[in-house]
Symmetry: C2
Subunit: 487 residues, 2 copies
């Protein structure tokens, strides 16, 4: 066994080597056997915490003891997001090269707040975001920054939109100013909850997020947007920002960005596009049209940790107006001034977070290891898998596809004979989903569309093959049969 740390030092390098190898082997073994482990854990609330002592140990423990507890304590309660049978929410992958890139970032432990505090972190971030921008077909006028999550990216977009109003909100705030109008944000009734959270945080207010109705394919209706803006202006409200979505969370629908961009240009509103999930598909040349119109957006977010195989967390934010974003957030205390300030980009000037991990490394590893074509092949593959399931659903006498499938996520339900839209049918599908997930070897999630309960199947893990997808669908069909027999 390796030597222990001295009283004041770090783990010795030899010990790090020994247990680092063990942990790498554990991870490799885990991936090798992941197919034979359940995707969902079998624990009740409190089951994990009761396996843990009430206090941290007084004296340090061995790495042997700690690593043994991964299997004993942690794994029984892990929902396996890196599992090929994970079809819930958005299916993601922390890929091999992404994990290794992130490991290097953790080991270097830099804070890339300033160029000076790690030139490589700033410059690699600039370079890989330019690589990704070109892969997505976005123009060079888009400047990029990495945030942790799409929620935080969208909050920064809305903050920049607020700054663009030139109402001195940064300096004077919003409260106690009788001259300020009510400020309004527009998004579709299918948009992600992060738009509302951002509006709440920034002080716009929840009720000032105007939910524009969507059409039969769950896309924002531009004429309804134009009408909402008109009505708000007539009431003396100030429209600030429109958030369009490329790949909504429930159905992955694509808002008509060109039409929305036209309205934003005419109305002089900030257009932010939430492409957190769907934007990644634009790395496939024949899918690049999903971002049509986005070159006219003021800002756009794409999350490589969703569908570009980068481990959580990595959100790529692009804007044509970095100077507005900087005006909204830059604040340089004396202790953070450096001699290079005038020649370099200090990313801390563009956001609320001062601490910044070296996240560019993991995207760099992923883009290089898979290459542009390899990434495109993988995304194509997921879309093909989704199409095969869609065909099976459509061919089934009882199941219905409940929305178009523009990417690799499906919304469907069972509709047994004689059951019409309503709570009985909803309850039946909820029971079906619960029964499928209780098997623990697949994991689906759900949503509601116009009041109808539907099951969601998202395909996006690199280990997911046609076999997994067929098996998952067979389980749903089989579970339906069992439930129907029991009705």
């Amino acid at each position: 066994m390796a030597e222990r740390a001295t009283d004041t030092g770090d783990m010795p390098a030899d010990e790090f080597r020994t247990y680092g190898h063990q942990l790498i082997d554990w991870i490799a073994d885990h991936f090798e056997h992941i197919d034979h482990t359940p995707v969902l854990p079998a624990v009740k609330p409190g089951d994990i915490s009761k396996r843990l002592p009430e206090d941290a140990p007084g004296v340090g423990e061995s790495m042997d003891a700690i690593l043994a507890d991964i299997d004993r304590v942690i794994m029984p309660g892990v929902t396996q997001w890196n599992h090929p049978d994970f079809f819930a929410y958005f299916s993601i992958t922390g890929s091999g090269p992404g994990i290794l890139g992130d490991l290097l970032s953790t080991a270097l432990n830099v804070n890339g707040m300033l160029w000076k505090t790690c030139p490589s972190a700033t410059e690699l971030e600039q370079v890989v975001l330019a690589w990704l921008r070109r892969m997505l077909g976005l123009p060079d006028s888009f400047w990029g920054i990495v945030y942790d999550t799409a929620s935080v990216s969208t909050m920064h977009a809305l903050a920049a939109a607020r700054e663009q109003l030139e109402m001195q909100i940064r300096d004077r705030g919003m409260a106690g100013r009788a001259e300020l109008p009510v400020l309004r944000v527009y998004t579709s009734d299918q948009a992600h909850s992060s738009v509302e959270k951002a509006a709440i945080t920034l002080g716009f207010g929840h009720e000032n997020v105007v939910k524009i109705p969507s059409d039969e394919a769950f896309r924002m209706r531009p004429e309804a947007l134009a009408e909402a803006i008109r009505a708000d202006r007539a009431r003396g409200y100030q429209p600030v920002c429109v958030v369009a979505t490329v790949g909504t969370t429930s159905t992955t629908s694509i808002d008509p960005v060109p039409a929305i961009a036209g309205i934003c240009e005419a109305e002089e509103l900030w257009l932010h596009v939430d492409g957190a999930y769907g934007g990644s598909a634009a790395v496939v040349p024949e899918m690049q049209q999903v971002l049509a119109g986005c070159e006219r957006a003021d800002s756009l977010v794409v999350n490589p940790h969703k569908w570009l195989f980068v481990p959580i967390d990595f959100s790529a934010f692009y804007t044509r107006k970095p100077e507005v974003l900087k005006r909204a957030f830059s604040l340089i205390p004396e202790y953070l001034r450096t001699p290079e300030d005038t020649e370099v980009e200090n990313y801390m000037d563009y956001g609320i977070q001062l601490g910044r991990r070296f996240r560019a490394l993991k995207l760099w590893f992923v883009l290089r290891y898979f290459g542009r074509e390899g990434l495109a092949d993988r995304i194509r593959h997921h879309m093909n898998l989704a199409r095969t399931v869609a065909r099976k659903i459509e061919a089934h006498p009882t199941f219905q596809l409940m929305a178009p499938v523009p990417f690799s996520t499906l919304c469907f339900r069972a509709k047994p004979d004689g059951m019409e839209d309503g709570e009985e049918l909803n309850a039946f599908n909820e029971r079906l989903l619960t029964a499928v997930n209780e098997r623990r070897d697949v994991f689906f999630s759900h949503t509601r569309l116009r009041g109808q309960y539907v099951i969601r199947m998202a395909i996006g893990n690199l280990r997911t093959t046609a076999h997994h997808v067929d098996h998952a669908w067979d389980l749903v069909a089989k579970t339906y049969q069992e439930l129907s027999g029991n009705r």
Copy 2:
């Protein structure tokens, strides 16, 4: 060499094993030889990016090529935050056990937004935050959550304070409401810029952050706070929140929290304590008094990624009023509802970020590996090292300590004979700092105290020994001699 990925799959497990071992060895070697490498890189702006191609590769590259570029491209531009001679800003450590815990988190790649989406992530977070809370001597009434950075923690504190006003700001926002008063936040003139960034973000406005003067030891003056609140109320302004600091960024001064808590209680204001750096010292039993009065705070932030050897990013946020925080942020769309919602804690309800890494693992590894006593020994050691430097500064005929040293960070300057306070003296010390850092084998930062330029030396890396500290001080003294000769 290991097999390559298929057209649609992840890196094969064998290849992950091979290159995982190589990367672990690279990191172990790096730590073994870190003393012989410069802490500061020798690059000019643009030097790193010009070594990188303009586009991501079309076809995937080998891991051999990628790993080779760590040394060729990345390391020449890395400011080594994990280096024993890093004394700038706050000196930190991504410790061996912390790196391994984070590696596991990256590999599992879970999103702990809901209990259901990874029960172990939620429950381990609850458990390790309770361990840390008891180590810090905080009462059980403090509920905890992990955010990424102290900036984000403080923003959540101010958002909860705003929610506590019961002015319907969450729903109705702050703009266009003539009935709302100006909302005011109070902090000392030594507070971190994150307080201002949070106030800007939330729509309080930069000018509504009232900077309370500090005393001769850079501590907030409570009587000045009481007076500022009185004056604001007289003008019809609404005080919302006071942010006190335990360990300010420039001098690590400790605000008189008991007196401030008394004022907040009398005035019914939210008290948030920024203990991002200094709070960690409370794991040393005889230092626990640095958090005196904090049991009366509404919220408190301590960053284990600053001085508890956890890799970036990890900010521990505690509050006695989680229900207020939840009221400020909870928003549950249909697609995130789970059957367990009523029995469990879903951390997504308490913040702006939906995506949540399994950060508890790295703190768990660190607390177990070092143990409570081991951590206390290490923090004591850093404080002892700081005291030895303080004595040398005080004994030196030309150097002056510019602030008390309550933790392990020193502020000092050279004051050559005949030079009085003013820009000449400031410029001299700036030249001194620049000349020291240009050697690249130590890294100090600076600040200004009442207009005086001072050099900061922060001690906090686990590889830093008495030898490193002596050598760093000798370099400063020697460089001073050289500069003085050249005057």
